[in-house]
Structures are given as structure tokens and as C-alpha cells.
Symmetry: C2
Subunit: 327 residues, 2 copies
């Protein structure tokens, strides 16, 4: 079983399915803006995770499809709004929504995707108690993402952030949605409380590994590979695990380099390189890589209780893939 | 029965109730930003409408309270985001959320209020089919509001807007939420299909009257009374019913005044006054007033089928109040 093939096949299946929530409409600019990012591609990892979680519990991923659509709509809504806040200009190799359609249409199209995400969840066929559980989890996830994004912004203004604070932040900003995907898949698949709990833990840890690997990739790839402005994180003073580790381990001379350049929006490419070199020298880039790797072991342990199924194998492959991907 | 006393009493009751959705939290700036507008007061007309609709059907407003909270949270979320798009600096006599907390926290706190609105709807105690009907209506209302706001923005860029286009726009931007309030109240109160339909129509028409009266007030009050920048609508080229009527009835000389000044953000107070005088001269201000009045008759007709109850009387008073209020 090849994960890449499975990912591609499931993504195609998912893309066909969620079209129903991404139809054109009027006013055109609103719907064009709302469709821009969802139709720009993406690996559909969260829908894939929900499918695998549901399949691991019930043997069938079909019932989770509307929920998976809700997850991906919600994910895209948060990206559209985040890009405004972060002044990001490129995503998925295309101009961001606010860059292409302006801030007002970007705010509104994010809100529209947000509303559509609930429309999708309403299409899930489960009993009322399960539905309420699902939707509470859905709402709580959005709240966590808002809190995480605000923490991320707050951290940029702060000189120092501890590793614990960083982990709490990405747990909300990124982990919560992976957690919800796995939990929702388990619930809709009718998993036992033990299975749902195992999947929930798996999702949360996968989210941490995913985010740390993302931060790691930002620091070890070029713009062509990543499709986003490299150096952004350094210029914005983004408190990634790498930066947090470097600040904690920098001596006086290193500290001065970090204090002078890190978070300086006008930093030159040469200065950005200097900080990057320091991140490597202090072992921070390697530290982040290792942390991501160790999370993958934890995630696998978490789902040891699941029945041995092809879906469970794919969940194993998914966690391996998380720390092997190059974009 | 005095409407003002009832409004005040119900608003107090409502304010006590929805506190549970407006607790402090961390990160503080996110929750402070989210609480800013909801706690800045407001007449709570939409919750009042939901209460009266529920009471007219069942004799009791208590079951509608979580839904009313959801409505008001949703209303506040749209205001927070709209103020960013409209560059508004003052609302309810206070700085707008983005003015006080910055755009990122304002976008996020709007998203948080959005999520909380669904949290509140989840607390409604009804059977599953009614719940789904309610939430579908809730989602569709948000979609309509997004569409209406985008139309409003689009209209500012256009030279001409027809009265029909204007009415469709405010029907979405403002009417949809009043419609939802009345419909939801009727559904939660267990009203007959005929009663729910009557309330729904009443709400939609009340919304139109309310918005037209708002536009009318903007053009006939001073900044101290309204708590917002007067002239904003003229400088932004806002296509109110008054402006739409004036453009439709302006002759060559008048058209030049409108074309030169209306929508010119740098217009002086004197120029704004000139446009205002033209609005009066062309009978547009009076026309808007009369349209609002005629909607009140339609709204009353719509609920003729309701049982004669104190709540129904209050719905009559509410529609009268809509076109008597001075802020």
C-alpha cells in the first residue's frame, strides 16, 4: 500500500465530493474569492485523516465525507483570514485571497467558508447526541484556532517565548484541527470510546509533528519548493520551535544577532541568512527535526489499541509521511 | 403596555442571560476584543423580536433565549467585520474593535463571536428535525449577510443602483437576521406552519423598514445623536434608498453635484451639506421615510393570522417604534 497513491486517490474523491459546497454564486467577487483557495489545490490531509479514522472504526469512509468537507472548509477559512493578519502574499503558489480580491472580500469570503463549513456538518447522518458532540467539538476547534492564532500574533511582539508556550500555541492553532479530524472520523464511524480517544490523541500529536515539520521546512527549503516567501518567519519574528530553541541557547554574541535581526521587517537577505546560520549552529534546526520525529513515535503508540486494518496502516504511513514531506 | 419599558426589561433579562457566552478568557486581547462591542450596549432588538415571536406562539420566551443569544452574537460578529471593511471608527459611541485592538484581533474576535453563536444555538432544547431546520436557517442567514455586505461594497463602486437592487441588498444584509429572529422564535415556540410563515414575513419586512429608517436617520440627525460619523455615507458613496432615489430623479445640474461629491472621500463638510440639501430638495429623504412607513403596514398585515396575545401587541408596537426611533 502506497501512501502517496492513497492520498492522491482520496484527495480526488474528496475534491469531487466537496464541490457541492463550492458552487459559484452572486455577488460573483464574493464567491470567486471564496473558491480561490479551496480550488487552488492542497493535499487534503485533514479530510484524509478523517477518512482513515472513520474507516479504521467502521471499515467505510463514506459517512465521514460531509464532515471532512466541513473540516477543509474551516481550514481554508482560517487560512484566508490568517493571510490577511500575517500580510502573506502567496499561498499554494498563487496570490493570497486578500492580495487578489482585496481585504473586504477576503474577510467576507472567509466568513462565507466558515458558514459553509457548518452547512457541511449539517449533512452528516448521525443521531442527535452524536451530532451535538460533533458540533460542540467543531465549535471548540474553531475557538482553539482563534486563540492559537492570537497567541501566535502576541508571541511575535514578545522577546521570549518558552517551549511550553510554543507547544500550547501550535496545539491550538494547528493541532486542534487534526485532533478534530481524527475524533470526528472515529465518532462518525461509530468507534468505541476507547477507539475515539485513541484517534483523538493520535490527531493531536500528528498536528504537533506536522506544524513543527512545517516550521522546519520553512528553514530548510527555498521559495520555489515551499511556494511562500522564505525569510518571512525571521522578518516577522515568528516564534517557531527553532527560534524558541535558539533564544534559549544563545550566548551574548548570538543574542545580539537575534535581537538585532529577528523580527526586523526590514532585514536584508544577508541578515536573514545570518540568523538562519545561527539557528543551524545552535542545533535548533536539528532539534526541531528530532522533536517532530519523536512525536511520530508517540502518535503510533496512541493508536496501538486500534484493530489492525488497512486504515490503521495508512495512519502509520501518514505519520511517517508528515516528517518526510518536502513541502 | 409600554414598549420602551418592555424593551428595557427584556434587554436586561437578555444581557444577564448571554453573559455565559461572553466570559473572559486567554489570550486576553482576543477575549477583550470579542467582549468590546457586545458589552457596549445596544437595544437588543433582534433578541427582543425572537422573544416576542416565541411568546406569541407558546406564551413563553424562555426556550428561545439561547437562540436569541446566537442571533446577537452573530449580529455583533458581522458588525465587527463590517467596521473593518467600512473603515468605521466609532460604534455605540466607542472606538470600533479594530480601531481599539487592531485589525488582526478584530478579525479574530469576530471569528470567535461567530463560533460562539453556534455554541449558543447548540444550547437550544428542541427535537432533531427542528434543530436542523433552525441551524440551516442560521447558516443561510449568515450567507445572506455576507452576500448583502459584498453587494453593499460593490454598490459603492457603481454609479447607479436601482431601487430593486437596493432592496435585495438590504433584504440580505439587514432583513435576513430579523427574518431569522422571528422565524426561529416561531419554530422554537412550536408555532404552526402558518404562524411561523407569518412571523418570518413580518421579520423580513421589519428588517427592511428598520434599515431604511436607519439610512433616513443617518441623513437627518447629528453625530451626537447617532454616535457615528455623519457624512460617512455620502463620502463613501453608500447607496442608501435616499441616494438611489436622488440619482433616479436628478436632472443634469443635480447629477453633476452628485457625480462630483457623492463617493468622494475627501469631500468637505460644506460639500456633504450640498449633497444633503439636494437629497431633501429632490424629495428623497421624505420618500425613504414614507417607504419605511408603508412597510410597517405590510408587517402588521403579515401577522394578522396570529392569536391575539400581549406578545402580538408588542410586535405591533415594535414595528411602530422602528419608524419612530431617533437613534
Amino acid at each position: 500500500m502506497n501512501l502517496q497513491d492513497e492520498l492522491t486517490q482520496r484527495a480526488t474523491q474528496f475534491n469531487d465530493y466537496w464541490q457541492q459546497y463550492l458552487k459559484k454564486g452572486t455577488p460573483e467577487v464574493l464567491y470567486d474569492a471564496a473558491r480561490h483557495l479551496p480550488l487552488a489545490g492542497g493535499k487534503r490531509i485533514r479530510p484524509f485523516l478523517a477518512m482513515m479514522a472513520c474507516e479504521s472504526a467502521s471499515g467505510d469512509a463514506a459517512p465521514v465525507m460531509p464532515f471532512a468537507a466541513g473540516l477543509e472548509l474551516m481550514h481554508n477559512f482560517t487560512l484566508v483570514h490568517d493571510d490577511i493578519m500575517d500580510h502573506s502574499l502567496i499561498r499554494r503558489n498563487l496570490p493570497t485571497v486578500h492580495k487578489k480580491y482585496g481585504v473586504p472580500a477576503a474577510i467576507l469570503s472567509g466568513d462565507l467558508l466558515f458558514a459553509k463549513s457548518f452547512q457541511a456538518v449539517l449533512d452528516v447522518s448521525v443521531d442527535f447526541p452524536t451530532f451535538k458532540k460533533l458540533e460542540h467539538a467543531f465549535v471548540n476547534c474553531i475557538i482553539a484556532i482563534c486563540e492559537g492564532q492570537q497567541l501566535d500574533i502576541d508571541f511575535e511582539q514578545r522577546k521570549r517565548v518558552t517551549e511550553q508556550e510554543y507547544l500550547a500555541m501550535i496545539g491550538k492553532k494547528t493541532g486542534a484541527l487534526f485532533e478534530l479530524a481524527a475524533q470526528g472520523g472515529g465518532l462518525i464511524g461509530g468507534g468505541s470510546p476507547q477507539e475515539v480517544a485513541a484517534l483523538t490523541t493520535y490527531g493531536a500529536i500528528l498536528g504537533l509533528a506536522f506544524q513543527i515539520w512545517d516550521d522546519y521546512l520553512d528553514m530548510s527549503s527555498d521559495a520555489a519548493t515551499l511556494g511562500k516567501d522564505i525569510g518571512n518567519d525571521i522578518r516577522n519574528g515568528k516564534k517557531t520551535l527553532i527560534a524558541v530553541h535558539s533564544f534559549a541557547h544563545a550566548n551574548g554574541k548570538h543574542k545580539k544577532v537575534l535581537d538585532d535581526i529577528f523580527g526586523n521587517r526590514a532585514a536584508t537577505d544577508h541578515e536573514v541568512q545570518k540568523v538562519y546560520d545561527l539557528f543551524v549552529e545552535l542545533g535548533s534546526v536539528e532539534y526541531a527535526r528530532q522533536r517532530a520525529v519523536s512525536y511520530t513515535h508517540e502518535a503510533k503508540d496512541a493508536i496501538a489499541v486500534l484493530k489492525d486494518t488497512p486504515a490503521k496502516k495508512l495512519l502509520h504511513h501518514l505519520i511517517d509521511y508528515t516528517i518526510q514531506r518536502e513541502k
